[in-house]
């Protein structure tokens, strides 16, 4: 039996992102539930977020973001042979999102699968894309993180309604002579499976805030350091740190303990809310668009969330 031979490495060629146009501010939320702008900003860090209307689905968001990443990559749609969608808020049980996203983008018959690890989904999917290209299972991969959390939220529960939002981010990954995506560090804490949960189709998203906060502020900074060690990159050499945009205080806590003193720390949550699997590519795509980071710089991506799961890697910014 033969085996396949891939490229020496893989790299991200381009990012793209999409947010629904409907902006929901803290003041808007205060009109329908017991909360206020100052409370939300100090507890979570969010000023405003985007909520998709009923006729805009998580598939629509993925198609928009994926299309932008494809356009920016300079590739033809026929170059893409694998599509991976990271999502945990798909409305249909079957089929997956990836097949539909591919068809809508005009990508003909690629490998197509979804990854459901919630907020760590993009990093898991990116790791698999990297491995596929290096092993010869694919040549160019479209990786999308998309979420419509708004359709799973109890809009009377201020613990979740002020935090979660909708959006999508995407990356086109291609072969490279040198590694543009570093080794993944991934793991889980399945004993805390009920810390963030939507337990069935008729249920809302529920989160044990303190359990998640404690786990995120204690367990993840050693993981971030391990990612640096495995990649042979010192925290001081990072140009950007892009953790999942869970909560501004978690972001600041991990950043502080990582000690990436020269890195721009992504704080997209302020204007985007927590968009689960979309949050990392959405944040980084917007940072690149605003010129906050330069091509060639190194970014540490760190996804973490429901599962509980985590995954992260260092990438070269396209």
């Amino acid at each position: 039996m033969k085996t396949s031979q891939g490229a020496p490495g893989a790299k991200i060629l381009a990012f793209g992102h999409y947010q629904p146009s409907n902006v929901v501010t803290n003041d808007d939320l205060s009109a329908t539930m017991e909360t206020n702008d100052a409370w939300i900003q100090s507890r979570v860090g969010i000023k405003e977020r985007r909520i998709a209307p009923d006729n805009e689905s998580e598939i629509d968001l993925a198609v928009q973001a994926g299309g932008k990443a494809l356009a920016a990559s300079g590739l033809a749609v026929s170059d893409i042979d694998l599509v991976i969608v990271a999502t945990c808020t798909l409305e249909t049980q079957i089929p997956n999102a990836a097949g539909r996203v591919a068809t809508r983008l005009g990508i003909d018959a690629p490998g197509a699968f979804d990854v459901n690890t919630a907020c760590s989904g993009f990093c898991y999917a990116l790791a698999v894309a990297n491995d596929a290209i290096r092993a010869g299972s694919a040549t160019h991969v479209l990786v999308v993180g998309t979420e419509k959390l708004s359709q799973w939220i109890d809009w009377t529960d201020r613990a979740t309604a002020v935090i979660f939002a909708d959006g999508a981010g995407a990356a086109v990954v291609g072969p490279s002579d040198t590694p543009g995506i570093g080794p993944v560090v991934w793991g889980s804490a399945g004993d805390k499976f009920d810390a963030i949960i939507i337990k069935d189709r008729d249920s809302f998203l529920h989160q044990e805030g303190q359990t998640v906060f404690r786990w995120a502020t204690t367990e993840l900074h050693p993981i971030a350091k391990e990612i640096c060690e495995r990649s042979g990159v010192a925290p001081a050499d990072l140009a950007a740190f892009v953790p999942h945009q869970a909560n501004l205080r978690i972001i600041e806590s991990i950043a502080r303990k990582l000690g990436a003193d020269n890195a721009v720390v992504a704080k997209d949550i302020v204007l985007a809310g927590n968009t689960s699997a979309a949050s990392i590519p959405l944040a980084l795509s917007r940072m690149i668009e605003r010129g906050e980071v330069q091509a060639g710089g190194l970014a540490l991506l760190l996804g973490f969330g429901a599962g509980l799961t985590y995954a992260g890697q260092i990438i070269e910014i396209p």
């Binding site: 507890r43 404690r214 502020t217 205080r249």
Partner: protein, 79 residues
């Protein structure tokens, strides 16, 4: 190597200042976290985690909710 109440208070003041920005000299034993210092439950978790690093004493969530004042935390760490 038992720490004095003053040493623990100084350590807690420093931690609270780092996490919340409240000046360390405003952190006095009789003050209540919620009512006097306006420190919420998520900050309490951050403070508990930092206290574990500083003093080597773990404060689990189910104990944390009973610690209402700075003095309560000092006593917990001393015992």
């Amino acid at each position: 190597m038992a720490l004095t109440e003053q040493e623990i208070l100084a350590g807690i003041g420093k931690i609270i200042n780092e996490i919340t920005g409240i000046p360390a000299n405003e952190v006095t034993p009789e003050k209540s976290f919620v009512d006097d210092l306006d420190i919420d439950s998520l900050s309490m978790v951050e403070i508990a985690v930092a206290a574990q690093d500083e003093f080597g004493v773990e404060i689990p969530d189910d104990q944390l909710k009973h610690l209402k004042t700075v003095k309560d935390v000092i006593n917990f760490i001393q015992n």
